[in-house]
């Protein structure tokens, strides 16, 4: 489920107007603000590296470039290592996804069941990678705060969410997300996501330099995505997010 940026902005403005009267913002207001910051660009190009840490201390790495056009469109092209180089994934919306397999020179429509996969075998689930709006999927309650961060508790409001609840820490300075803890319906912590090393890449947007996720069900196995560069608001064409573009490859 997705909400448009304009809808988020309108909601955000109206909720902030209310909070100015009431004092501390509510959990939902903070969540909307965090969502707005997360998506504060029309389009973006991100060079990234997925690092999967192994038990022997070594790490496997995947390089990829993500083109994103809010609210829904994404094109991911893998650049390394060799066995995935040239592979592409096109997400037109939540229901329509394609994979380009260069070895077969063909595009394959994927059922949305691939959300059940992890991202390249890492600790990132599909929803960890694709969630662009928390406020549309969760009800938030402010449960604590420090001088730097708000602590929210998020309860799912749509049945498609696999988690029982989330805990979210939001930095107060720019409403960037700092940490997410994922719990199952029994209250057991499943995963922890850390977002840090933020850099401002547009007047409205702060981009984390690192997103790390630890799966507590796998002996705290950790994967992280390092964002090497980002370019925002370059007017990416809709044609880029098409099957025709996907088959052109890197």
């Amino acid at each position: 489920m997705r909400v448009s940026l304009s809808a988020l902005a309108i909601t955000s403005v109206s909720l902030w107007a209310a909070s100015a009267v009431a004092g501390d913002p509510t959990g939902q207001e903070i969540l909307v603000k965090a969502d707005t910051q997360l998506n504060a660009f029309k389009d973006g190009t991100f060079e990234s590296k997925l690092v999967m840490k192994q038990s022997d201390g070594s790490a496997r790495e995947y390089g990829f470039t993500t083109f994103q056009k809010n609210p829904d469109k994404r094109l991911v092209r893998f650049t390394s290592p060799g066995d995935v180089k040239g592979m592409g994934v096109l997400i037109e919306n939540a229901e329509t996804m394609y994979v380009y397999l260069p070895g077969f020179q063909r595009i394959r429509r994927m059922g949305t069941h691939i959300r059940n996969q992890t991202f390249m075998g890492s600790d990132f689930g599909f929803d960890d990678m694709a969630t662009l709006s928390f406020a549309s999927a969760f009800n938030a309650k402010l449960v604590g705060q420090t001088a730097e961060q708000y602590e929210l508790e998020l309860m799912p409001k749509i049945k498609e969410i696999e988690y029982g609840k989330l805990k979210l820490w939001v930095n107060k300075d720019h409403f960037t997300m700092a940490k997410v803890e994922y719990y199952d319906t029994n209250g057991t912590k499943m995963k922890t996501q850390i977002r840090d090393q933020y850099k401002q890449d547009s007047p409205e947007h702060w981009q984390p330099g690192r997103v790390a996720i630890t799966d507590h069900r796998r002996n705290d196995h950790t994967s992280e995505i390092l964002f090497l560069s980002s370019k925002l608001n370059t007017n990416l064409s809709d044609d880029l997010f098409s099957q025709r573009s996907l088959i052109r490859g890197n």
């Binding site: 496997r60 059922g111 098409s242």
Partner: protein
Amino acid sequence: MNLSRTVLLSLFFGLGWSGVARADVDLKFGGSISSDIRFRLGGGEVVPASTPAPYPSQYRLLKNGFSRNENIIKTQLTLRAGEKVKAVADVDFYWYGYSDVNDIDMATLREKIDPYRIDAYSAYLDVYNLLPHLDLRIGRQVVVWGTADKFNPTNNLNSLDYSDALLFGRALGNQMIRLDYNPWKDLILTAVWVPIFRPAQLPRTAPYALTQIDRPAPVQEQGARDTLNSLAQIVQPTQVNVFAMQPDPSIENSQVGFRIASRLLKQDVSLSYYHGRFGIPTPAFTVNKPDRTVDVAVMWPKMDVIGVDIAGSIAKLRGLGYWVEAAVFFPQEVRYGLYNDQTNGVRTPITFMFDNMGGSQLKMGYPEGTRATVIPSTPFAKVTAGFDMTWNKYLYTNFQYVYGFIDEFGAGVQARPGAKMGDNPRTEARLGSYFVVGADLKFFSDALLIRFFGAFKIPHIEDEGKPFTAVLFPQIAWTVWDATELSAGAFVFLGDRSTKFGDPAAGATEVFVKAKFTY
């Protein structure tokens, strides 16, 4: 401007680069190095063709022996000149890993001591937005149509490579001109022209289908088949030679395809048309020689194919992916030309007088009667329908129903050899039905893959005997490090000699170990 790469390319290619050097040329190089060792178990022996030497070369398939010992270097070079032009070369170098030496002269030839081959899978040039929304791809390429997995009845522009059972028919590159026009959203119109037909690559075991003398005659009419089988038993040919009648490189023999694809109610749909030929040859003529040898000629039948496919995802079934792909084939009729050559040089046609009761009488000489039918002109359909599901991060499953396997062509029936040498042949529908199932189990961050794949033939009511036949393909693959994979497994043919997969012409059970590094 990427100056260093441009300079390097200029040095590499020597000349003719000045026109491109003005653009921002981006060079990408990739590929893989792999090793593939296989051992076959209980197969039919295949000796090298036309090799009368008393000492056999290693170019043969033993009943139990190594069937593959290949090393492969795959290289892919991609050049981009700005956003407008891309050139791709995808070439595989194969070293067979055995010697093909029959005499002392051959022992002096490096290509016999260490045989190799080069496969150019792709070598094409892309021009994007040649006209607004129009892309051109010209050169050696593979055009894949259809939404099903591997079994694509609408996918006929490239003939398939059947030489490796593990690939289930990989498409062979061919020279083509392809235009893609994307005027609006998801609407894509594609036109392809293939000037010269390229036949399918057959497996080493394929000659079995024609050269074993107890093989039933490949004709539809029961009476004609019985008569020809009786004659073969009487004459007992000493040798069967198979010749091919390739299509001329004429404009009439070029292939064309058109496709329109779009999205309807969130589902991907397409409609296609193909005019060309089926990649696997079919027997068309037989000449019985006075010395009791037999010459058989094969040809590649023409066909027109209208295809349709649909694919999508069903949200209410946990995002189940599904696809349905169907094609109606309008084949060229192939009649069986049969002749007897006499010692005086006179060639006599052998035809039949068919009656309405299904009986037939042999007619020798002129005027000719009716030739028996190999491929009737009756249109026929091939269908693949399937679904897949990722259950969790460990398990992926795939199920397909296939009507008409990748190598099956034509309506009617086909006669198969007896279960054992000397047994009576049996008939079954030429187009079979199959369940194809697959499952991937992944562990350790996808580093360990356990894969099972199987194709099981479903007998039709009209099939005689209905013996069981299937292929099983279990394998285990371990990504020991980035882009480095070790794998082992087996490709198991089940069934007796009279069945599709038990027929020695289809191949034999193999076990394999592979290693691959991709760069």
